[in-house]
Symmetry: D2
Subunit: 270 residues, 4 copies
């Protein structure tokens, strides 16, 4: 079904919970394009989700990893290299979790211990993974790393809460590490700023429906779906995009460069 | 009434039509802060407006100038230098006119001769004025030039039509000329990206009311008024902002960095 | 050789002068990926270049078109539709020409008639082409339009002269038209901001060598080559990037998000 | 000496170490402009520096505060309100500290406990202070909060290390909190992205000299000095800039919008 865009490539995909997950669909698309995959997720997410169904479908091992835990990350990279018989070519970081959102804390009243934990899981995790890879020379020359982000990193969406700060931090880590991994090994690191997506994780956010409808009306092409995002990830992992690095790539049907649409103005006039 | 922020400074202000104009209010504020002013506007705008009332109030000469005409621009700068007895310190460029908007042309069906004229008046005019000033060494060391812009230069507001392109071009001219005038004479050049404002000019734009209400609801501090903008221009002309140059400065109550507000989401849910 | 990424797609490619041209290499890659192509260039460029060699190689018709001439643009789109037997799927706009640079005018002393001509050819041409396509419903649903740009649209590179303003205007036209064509027909319009490239056209710019070396040292992955750019265009024309629109896409080895490199600092310390 | 720009206003200034500090000079300028000040710094910084000299000069109390400590922050705001007899109008957050830089860790090999501590002190501290102020309704209507940042938040400067991520996070916190404080109380929150400055703190960064020379050559107006920055802070605290919020304001002599200067190209050609 694919075009062999990733023939011979190998990669690790974080964050496939269930079949609505961007990571899940990306794993399938990468497999269709000829890639070999290692799947990973947090132990708790693995219990909740259905990752084993996916693993079977694409013939991929699953290695549990709490990304805020150094040993887990170390184990993941080591085991992945053993599985692949050496280095690999791409990583999808689709990880985000906000303790303060879960606890229902307003942004102006967040708990700071939770805030730090949110950053550890959602942002610093990218650094941990890349630092471990660099130490082991785990990513092949011209490899590609993608982390999923959201435009709240640039503009305020009040209900997005501390995750906005987590995404800003994530994008900065991608840029900073992208510099060093680029100079050293031509590895490129980018974030994709995706439309709000009806995944199981996304749906938990307060006011998510008003949010997603607004984004739909504010995007000349409508919101990008999880499947669209998976397609975009595939080309970002392919050799067609080797000189794109250290960027935040908007993938949102035009939302980010639209000030207002006629559809929104009409609604405002009601 | 003022704080002597512009004591001893001299400047040219383009575009004061009537008492709602940002340029009009800025002229008054600059005068209150101790500056001497030369007023100018297009001959046609002078006939329609009430610039002479302003001139009297702040004791400023009025020199007509069609900014798309080389001789007019040359005459303006020459006469201003004669009036001031030498160089001057600041310029406010508050000029914009779209022939295709006036003719009711949709953006996708604009007339190109009109499009070029729109750029000549709204954007290239800044280059003409600055080039003429540079040739005559008319702006004093550490002088400050401001042109008024709008966020349609970055994001699409469909009814703003070709003025979006004109403002992008204007901001680029400000940046480019700002480099050269900065290196040569420490003159700084910036644009201010102002909230939509109920001036006589602004009101002509189709769908302006829906537009301004949306902006009001999307700005945590509300829309910036013409008077707010005049206050901001004053500090941009003062010595307090000498190292700010080649920028587009958002002055919009937070609109530009707000993705959505609760007020807008509520309206969307209706 | 390709991956059938553009199987069944049809497109028009502007600006293939000789085998160093980005447009030339893109045409070959698109052909390899299964696309049918119509080639076009300005009559004068066609005389200077070797477009017929390319046409033969990829079995494409060549239709001359001065993009500042309404009839030429109209003829190009009509003839292309006749050739393709209906609508087409993509356009590459690789067109830029600065009369003031050719005449050796400094940015602060440009001739305004030339300046307007530069904008007509380099920027407004994109509007003319898209407006003509829209009128004839020439671009298929989910089609993709790319125009080549340069980072001088965001930051000043002094020798780039008025082309900086032309590229800012081009990017604005892409964004504005992208909104309307997106809403109407899901056609996406983007610009690619490419590294300085040693093409026959690029080489003409004053100080180009210092420029390209600096960019090479400032890019963690080095400068993107014309071939890299062609690969990137291919994926932007493919269905893998359907939700990317109204953007300026940096394709520059990391230049745009690098503040300084150790390589540059070392050179500065000499 | 001043212009009474801050007559009747009251504010807290963090981070005045010695007379080279931006915070130190800003405190003096604010005092000259008619403001009352409370000074604060970390206990360790107070021992190293000379804050009492400043306190005497501007007749300001000094309240020690470790910004990563909830009780200290609470005490600071309470005591400041007691001193002022109620709410206050502005805050300068000039705080940054990188444990990994101090320990000489390369960015790709940072210690994560230190990384979190760096964020707590340099970035989350702004949240702590603002949250405490909001709880106590400590900042008056239309108050103004400034935090000092650096362009490494947008583009990579390799030796800036984890402070780049800290500044990105700081800017995000300013934006996020700026939304909520703006909606609630018209309080505006911005960051100023200042040129590299030869302060006692700045000088500690590895490669700082090459860095500052490069920035000087890359800025059409040269680097902004600490005194320039203090002047800019004054107008950002004044009522002249009431509608500017949620922004990162470049104050850098044009560095941020300059791609390259002739001075740098010449050096590259050596």
């Amino acid at each position: 079904m694919g075009n062999n865009l990733l023939k011979g490539k190998k990669g690790i995909i974080f964050g496939a919970l269930d079949e609505k997950s961007i990571a899940w669909i990306t794993a399938i698309k990468c497999h269709e394009e000829g890639a070999q995959i290692v799947l990973t997720n947090a132990p708790v997410a693995m219990r909740m989700g259905e990752i084993n169904k996916l693993a079977e479908k694409i013939n991929a091992p699953v290695i549990a990893c709490d990304v805020s835990n150094a040993e887990d990350v170390d184990n993941l990279i080591t085991k992945s290299m053993e599985h692949f018989g050496g280095g690999f070519d791409f990583i999808l970081h689709s990880i985000g979790m906000s303790l303060n959102v879960r606890k229902g804390k307003h942004y102006t009243e967040i708990d700071y211990a939770h805030n730090l934990k949110t950053f550890e899981i959602s942002s610093i995790s990218l650094h941990r993974v890349l630092a471990n890879c660099m130490k082991k020379d785990a990513i092949n020359d011209w490899g590609s790393v993608i982390a999923l982000s959201y435009i709240a990193a640039q503009r305020v969406f009040p209900d997005y809460n501390e995750m906005a700060d987590a995404k800003s931090l994530l994008e900065s880590v991608a840029r900073s590490f992208g510099y060093h991994y680029g100079v050293k090994k031509h590895v490129r690191v980018n974030t994709i700023s995706q439309s709000p997506t009806r995944t199981t994780a996304g749906s938990g956010v307060k006011g998510f429906d008003g949010f997603i409808n607004y984004a739909e009306k504010m995007s000349p092409l409508g919101n990008a779906s999880a499947e669209d995002c998976a397609n975009y990830c595939v080309v970002m992992f392919s050799d067609h995009t080797r000189m794109v690095t250290m960027q935040n790539l908007f993938h949102d049907g035009g939302f980010s460069f639209t000030g207002v649409t006629n559809a929104v103005i009409e609604q405002m006039e009601k």
